[in-house]
Assembly symmetry: C3
Homo-oligomer: 461 residues x 3
């Protein structure tokens, strides 16, 4: 990556933001309309003519879940990445602007592909809002792999392409292959992780050692990161269940995810301790691997996996995720030239694949006996068009398709991001807010190679 | 402001708190009763005699929104103000006690004015709780203008008057002028901002330079402030929609606010970068101006503003708010002698007025064609008593009335707060927790003029 | 306590975690099944045969409350304990693993005792999840008394016993004595506090002075603690109302708790200021005593205590809790040899007893006149089997039973925890993350007796 390009984006960044926002406004003006639960005349017509009351408005069934997902996207992802000692502003700030752009852009692309009405318009409401946040989650996972080594302009460019590709892949899986992936083990986690890791490979920095001294945490930055981690952990049951069928499927999805995460947490603590020479726990594992139980249930949580089945998956997810941080991340870096700042391969990549496979297995085992008449809520095709085994096969195919989209898409987008016009930081300027943020006085020495110095200390002499 | 008065409030502060609380208890005993959804005998009577089931209890429609608003008031406002390097305890602590007092006091004043039952009692439930929090939001906006320059006793005195004045102004707007202001662009933001700014003018400190070296942030204090900022941003859709009509109006209000905030965020990043000589982003803008899109939709969000219309308003709000921080705040300070610590003029003042005007325009454009039978949910008078244009005129009048109440009320209350008996800090003791809080050892040097020194560092020699 | 035992738990901690998790999985496999609202075939059968729709699923009535309780358990308790300057990882991290274990284990024990179906199975859903979190709250209260002086293995051992004992005590109170304790003044707070304090007595460290220099806070650690405190405070209305009868009882419970907490906050500020020689506020009081109003309404909040009655209880709770921190905690330490790190006696012990007594009084005053037909929602036995006075007597008996379980159980479990095989920290290694956590470079000197030194500072010379 060229170090010659300036990081001063005084013209480019504002132009990109404003042009994108103006384009969004125009496209929203042309394509976006209120849906039948947000439009006043349609809603009052339904109340008068159909047997509908205000309490049937989808708002009351989905809005609490939406807000939990919303917190995960903006606080969860944002603060999880503040673990770096000198990249807190970039973590939470870039997370903020990328997500604010992505939720708008995804509404359009998902709308064009999935939910165009007969009138040629996209009708928005709480469900489209949740789906746009899901797409955004995928973008933020990719951001995690690139954290500290990319400019905001690069990341916005990535988001333009990634939200679109995410939506296409999602369309292929959900509408063409007709597979299930309510919590997005495949569409969100596997896609986001391998897309981001592929970009990280393209943007490999041979000279990153010049910034490595800033790649760790300080005591309080790890506590900020725990805010993000715990919020992700707590609200993952809402994430996986946010768009499932109402009634027992939504309820069951939340419950299964809950038990998976609890088991994953114990597995993470156990593994983190045993891989350390002194038996000490590592904050990186606790902040990340303990969440893998949510990722790994992203496909199967609405299925009849049972509580103890969920716990087995969670246990296994915590185990492989922690081992990944300890043994695989260094290899990815040194052998495969993939510098994965946040370890998204361990939290989203491997557990995402695991989740896709668990979903395929569960689908192939689905029977009318276990689901009763609830079978059609989870697998609408299974009564008539497909056998359970075929559904399982399609699920596995969906995982392969997702990996294909991620690797090919990531390669192309990586080369676009590598163009020396986006203000990427120099190798000596990675993992620091200094190039892109006004810093308070105590961080004047921020970009220099002084180790951890937070402030000027004047000793009374 | 006299520096002679002591900041030791060992008698006055406890006396004020306890007397106020005892008075509240007595007034609650005399005036406050459970409403029909909280009272056991009334609720069981309704279930038996009217076609009502437990799921119709207003709790299930409003409580999730209430909790989001609650988080905004106590975490959002509280942590947003922790950006000051040495005023974190005061920010979150005074926010806490002011809000705890205000939600009780507002329940009484709003009850007396708006919702007195035929029995001469105020009937409380989830809706009165939300309304009391709204009033409290206004108080906390004013607090933002005075942050670091006032004592807790001064602020409690302010709250007594402001909650009462807020309720009177709200009564005039909603019940006399019969205008719409669901998210409070006028009643909450415009009122709170200009009330607080007027007080700031009265309490002007010519010698504030003696404390200016503490008026900035340190690295971690800005991250604490981002917690507050992001929570406010995320839950603003709940804020604007918390007391709207159930069904599509509530759903639409949340959705419009969501898109306005997203657009506002991109506008804020763009503007923040372009006004900086090196194109760097400024945390103060991100923390504040990105929220202006919520303020600016406080009146119009329930109307037929459309998603792209919301985005236009949000874009404009982010733009003027950021420009305000950059260019207007210094002028307010130097020319108009208004020292606005948190820049509430930029986040609440200008966007509040913008929101009031947008609401007036939208109201004047309302037609039966666009709203269908939903028109009466939003504008109950428009079918029969008023034309849309007249409604728009009343809306604009409401904005003018609000400004009048804020300026006159703020002037009077400012002079009361200026009395040298409330333990205001000396000019050298502003923006520091030292006068009012026990500090941990690492902050012994807290009140001195040593720049940022957080701790004693003993260098191994 | 022997200092000879090593804190290196590289084998023991992983073994304990994994064995416990495997045991949980097996027991869940044998005993746990979906309940009628989470099982697909049962739910679809009910929809077909009974007059049930998806909107009747208990998920929609309880899940928002569950998530609020969930945040209290994982963020609230976890961050409240981060006030210690060098124990942030242990506070939030051990809180995390203990809670993740306890919610699983409590599901089993509570299920065996309370809710075993006719099929010999435990049927889980949102209500069992909330109850398991309640049990976990009790464990975390006990953890607070032992914070910084115990190893994770010791704490897991404690949790095994405490969750079981909690469930037995809860069974005796709710199912044998048939008393009311919706928010757990007795079952959660009194039990957790006195159980933990008894253990603290058994684990008394005569040489704790060797670590006392780390027992305080630093500026930013107190702000992290305020995150926990404010979340507990905000969501306490959800906590007390999470499992009450739907309709007006749940609504009323939230409302009463809200007013109690508000009044408690003013009382806490008043008392904190008056007991300080300079009238300064103490963060420890604000973080803790302001919450006592929620504890003290844990039994009575669903009863006809009225809003002003709730405020009186809250006022009194804030008063005794703050006085407890100031005057009682030092005496417990010096005279009774109870080293109560977080002051749980002041936040949970005394206010818990107060809450039990208030509940007994309110119960003894219950009449058909005040509750109407809602009486059976709150006191199902009062119409037929018991007089109000007798119910009040049973309530008081429940408090005594709880104290008995806590003291006897705590004594036994304390001696188990005292066995020198659990890797307890040495007297010189208390209140520091150093023995159990990998620390970032800036904390290399963490375990040493250097006062507050956060980082190495190299002064340019």
């Amino acid at each position: 990556m060229s170090n010659a390009s300036t990081t001063n984006m005084r013209l480019k960044l504002p132009l990109i933001c404003l042009l994108l926002q103006l384009l969004l406004i125009i496209l929203f003006g042309v394509f976006v309309r209120y849906d039948r639960d947000t439009d006043p005349s349609e809603w009052s017509r339904r109340k008068a003519q159909e047997n509908v009351t205000d309490s049937d408005n989808e708002f009351y069934f989905r809005y609490p879940s939406f807000q939990d997902v919303h917190v995960m996207i903006f606080v969860g992802f944002g603060f999880l990445m503040t673990f770096l000692k000198k990249y807190g502003y970039g973590s939470v700030g870039f997370n903020f602007v990328l997500a604010a752009f992505s939720v708008q852009w995804a509404t359009l692309v998902q709308g064009w592909l999935h939910s165009m009405g007969e009138d040629g318009k996209i009708h928005v409401g709480i469900e489209s809002m949740i789906n746009a946040e899901f797409c955004t989650g995928s973008v933020l996972i990719s951001f995690g792999a690139l954290l500290g080594k990319t400019s905001p302009a690069q990341l916005l460019i990535m988001t333009i392409f990634e939200s679109a590709l995410f939506s296409i892949n999602e369309y292929v899986l959900l509408s063409v292959l007709e597979i299930k992936d309510a919590g997005g083990s495949m569409t969100i986690h596997t896609f986001g992780a391998y897309f981001g890791l592929t970009i990280a490979r393209i943007l490999y920095r041979a000279q990153l050692d010049k910034s490595r001294q800033r790649e760790g945490s300080v005591y309080h930055s790890d506590l900020f990161a725990m805010i993000g981690a715990i919020y992700l952990w707590m609200f993952w049951p809402s994430f996986n269940s946010a768009v499932t069928t109402l009634g027992s499927p939504q309820h069951r999805t939340a419950l299964n995810t809950y038990y998976s995460l609890a088991a994953c947490t114990l597995a993470t603590f156990a593994t983190s301790s045993v891989v350390n020479a002194e038996g000490k726990l590592d904050m990186v594992h606790i902040q990340n691997a303990a969440l893998a139980g949510g990722v790994a249930l992203g496909t199967a949580a609405e299925m009849m996996i049972t509580a103890y089945g969920s716990m087995i998956v969670g246990l296994f997810a915590g185990l492989i995720s922690t081992l990944g941080f300890k043994f695989l991340t260094p290899i990815l870096d040194s052998k495969l030239k993939i510098q994965d700042t946040c370890g998204v391969h361990n939290l989203h990549g491997m557990p995402g694949i695991l989740g896709g496979l668990v979903g395929a297995i569960l689908a192939s085992l689905a029977t009318k006996e276990t689901y009763g008449d609830g079978l059609q809520d989870v697998f609408p095709l299974l009564d008539t068009d497909r056998s359970a085994k075929v559904q399982g096969g399609y699920q596995a195919l969906g995982l392969a398709v997702t990996l294909g989209f991620a690797l090919i898409g990531g390669t192309i987008v990586g080369f676009v991001m590598k163009l020396p016009i986006w203000g990427a930081p120099a190798d000596t300027q990675c993992f620091t807010d200094q190039p892109y943020w006004e810093l308070p006085e105590d961080d004047w020495d921020h970009g220099e190679l002084v180790p951890v110095k937070i402030e000027e200390t004047e000793k009374p002499t």
